[in-house]
């Protein structure tokens, strides 16, 4: 039976569930003009959540509810950054939502439910919990993508996301059932032991393949990336920013729990599979991004390539590799939030700022916005001394140390190819003539502009002073 201690371990999640339900009720009895209050309350709820995660963190890993829930350093760092990114999402999204009559309470509650899904997923100690956390996250995401019901593009994106997501869930479940059949356990800690003693190693590897398909889909790694461009482009930008940031941390957490905690001894089998996914993602992401004219689509393909880099870290299959992949996931989540945040801030009612051409001559009209966008693009491209550069450096290093020199070389080559399309955005902003009759500048209230500037500055600061964050990432995988 669960005791009080179990509940204490689960406190941040329980608190968020209660808070989300209260916000839902509050929204139902709230008048439309009081809704900004809900916005600030949601942000406060998430900030208190961060406090609870950090404050109640036990000194060593503990489990609750018969090993269903694991609270360790990996879960802590992922939860802190997932909550932090969601705070950014809420702040950036508000003006956009208000302009488009999408400012509804459900945006906040569904996003918080999705974050709860992320937190449960990264803390999962059991295959069932991995699946349920993932479902909670994706189900909320499907609804968020379809939030703008009157847009055909949104509905199409939501249907595609839903169908492909259901297929991926099915694959994952199929793989889990095979693994369960081979080992007779669902508990990841037991699985780690049972995987070495199974009498049916082929069945186990077979299950592993299907689980990797599920992970590949969640990460958006090629060849399971088909949903990403359409969903990024089709959903309201306020939702794209969420889907493009915090769930990447969840995907890393899921891959870590399933592959490292659960099937770590099968690393020899999954290393090469992940290497293939990485090469494909790097190739498809970087090459297809070159021909994109839509900024959101370009960032979608950029995500695919970034997931390739993240996989480079996972291929290492050791603490060094996991630490570098975690560092990469955090750097991508923060940079992605800033990139979409800028698009949100430049958009206004009736103008989406989706096309790269919309940014023409941005420097002459809003130098500060152009400068921020340039920093973000450089960080995504991996130009030193920005945050993205050190992320790439670490994953290359991890891949080389694991004996995958060729993989690191492929990664470096594609990083240079990728530089082209990021620089194209910068070129359009600084050297192209602005289109007559269009006005473009940072929208939104003071909070948006201040937080956006801080977010981009953090990319610079973390790029120069990356040491503490990276040693935190390393620390959680030791012992």
């Amino acid at each position: 039976m669960p005791n009080f201690n179990d509940i204490l371990i689960l406190l941040p999640e329980l608190y968020l569930v209660a808070a989300a339900c209260l916000l839902l009720l509050l929204d139902a009895f709230m008048k439309a003009e009081q809704r900004p209050l809900l916005h600030w309350l949601s942000i406060a709820v998430l900030l208190v959540g961060i406090y609870l995660v950090v404050e109640g963190q036990p000194s060593q890993a503990v489990t609750a509810f018969n090993g269903m829930f694991v609270r360790d350093g990996v879960a802590e760092i992922l939860k802190v950054f997932a909550l932090l990114t969601t705070v950014l999402v809420f702040i950036y999204a508000k003006p956009y939502l208000m302009d488009r009559k999408l400012f509804v309470g459900e945006f906040y509650t569904l996003t918080i439910f999705a974050v709860i899904g992320i937190m449960l997923l990264v803390s999962a100690g059991n295959l069932i919990m991995v699946y349920l956390g993932l479902e909670l996250l994706t189900l909320s995401s499907y609804a968020l993508v379809a939030l703008n019901r009157d847009s055909r593009l949104s509905s199409e994106a939501a249907i595609k996301y839903f169908v492909l997501g259901a297929l991926a869930s099915g694959m994952l479940l199929y793989g889990m059932s095979m693994v369960y059949g081979a080992t007779g356990t669902l508990d990841l800690a037991h699985l780690h032991v049972a995987a070495t003693q199974t009498s049916m190693p082929h069945l186990l590897v077979f299950g592993l393949i299907f689980m990797i398909v599920g992970i590949g889909f969640k990460l958006g790694a090629a060849p399971f990336h088909m949903w990403i461009p359409d969903v990024y482009q089709g959903s309201p930008t306020a939702v794209t920013i969420f889907i493009g940031s915090a769930p990447k941390l969840a995907a890393f957490g899921m891959a870590y729990r399933l592959l490292a905690s659960g099937l770590g001894d099968l690393a020899y089998d999954w290393q090469l599979m992940l290497a293939c996914l990485a090469v494909l993602s790097l190739a498809i992401g970087n090459i297809v991004a070159i021909v994109q004219s839509n900024l959101k689509r370009l960032l979608a393909y950029s995500t695919i390539s970034h997931m390739g880099y993240l996989l480079l870290g996972l291929v290492n299959a050791g603490p060094e590799g996991y630490a570098s992949a975690l560092f990469y996931a955090i750097s991508y989540a923060l940079t992605g939030a800033a990139a979409f945040g800028l698009i949100l801030a430049l958009a206004r009612a009736g103008f989406e700022c989706e096309e790269i051409d919309d940014l023409k001559g941005l420097n002459q009209r809003s130098p500060w916005a152009a400068f921020l966008m340039m920093l973000v693009m450089f960080s995504l491209a991996g130009v030193p001394p920005l945050f993205g550069f050190f992320g790439k450096l670490m994953v290359f290093q991890a891949a080389i140390h694991a004996g995958f020199l060729w993989l690191a070389i492929v990664g470096a080559v594609f990083a240079i190819i990728g530089l082209y399309y990021y620089l194209r955005v910068v070129k359009v902003m600084y050297f192209d003539k602005p289109v007559e009759g269009t006005e473009i500048r940072l929208q939104g209230d003071v909070s948006v502009r201040v937080v956006l500037s801080l977010n981009v500055r953090a990319l610079l600061v973390l790029g120069i002073g990356w040491g503490p964050l990276f040693s935190w990432c390393q620390r959680v995988f030791v012992g």
């Binding site: 349920l132 909320s140 499907y142």
Partner: protein
């Protein structure tokens, strides 16, 4: 005399074959009503497989909930929709041969990889309910509320999100629509509904139209 484990194995393969064929029928049948009925058969034979595994409660729940309630609702919806069958199947026929070849190759690979023999090693594992000396339903209840309490609650949370999502995606506040206001209906008084008018019992013969109130033709 047939050995009971052999009989079990034969039953398993028979039910499994029916499930697969019925599932194929769901996506290939031309008539949507037939497809839904085929889905019912899929569920039913799955329930039979579960019965073989001594999971009685789940098997009955599948039949009662899915076959009994959900599928009837499905049938109802499908019968009401006017679906252009040819349009739905346009791309399907074209890709069907390729799909079948891929499926067969995958099946062959799977069997080669796992090995047919591995399946025969143990027909069914030991039933934990029998080990614990409980009925299947009782054991399921114990497992759900002790060992699997957290997943059980998370599943409830997922259902809540499903409800919220369904409401946010379908609820529309239209203006100019006359709603029933239950509170006003309850509060209504007899006087608001019926007006008792007193008038003479005998109508005066040939009433004269009041001057000045003549209606124009």
């Amino acid at each position: 005399m047939i050995d009971s484990s052999v009989f079990q194995l034969v039953c398993f393969y028979a039910f499994a074959a029916v499930t697969v064929v019925a599932a194929l029928g769901v996506i290939t049948l031309r008539n949507t009503v037939h497809a839904v009925l085929s889905l019912v058969l899929t569920f039913f034979s799955t329930a039979c497989i579960w019965l073989l595994a001594e999971a009685e409660f789940l098997a009955i729940a599948l039949v009662v909930v899915y076959v009994g309630a959900v599928m009837v609702l499905f049938l109802f919806v499908v019968m009401m929709l006017d679906i252009d069958r040819e349009q739905v199947r346009e791309g399907f026929i074209k890709y069907l041969p390729v799909g079948i070849i891929v499926a067969l190759v995958m099946l062959g690979e799977m069997l080669a990889l796992i090995g047919v023999r591995a399946m025969h090693e143990q027909v069914m594992g030991a039933n934990p309910a029998t080990v614990a000396g409980m009925s299947n339903t009782e054991w399921l209840g114990h497992a759900l509320y002790t060992e699997f309490l957290l997943p059980f609650e998370i599943a409830a949370l997922i259902l809540t999100v499903g409800v919220v999502a369904a409401v946010v995606l379908t609820l529309r506040h239209r203006t100019g629509v006359r709603h029933q206001q239950a509170s006003q209906q309850v509060r209504v008084d007899a006087r608001d509904r019926v007006r008792v008018v007193k008038m003479a019992a005998v109508v005066p013969a040939a009433p004269q139209p009041a001057p000045g109130k003549e209606t124009t033709p």
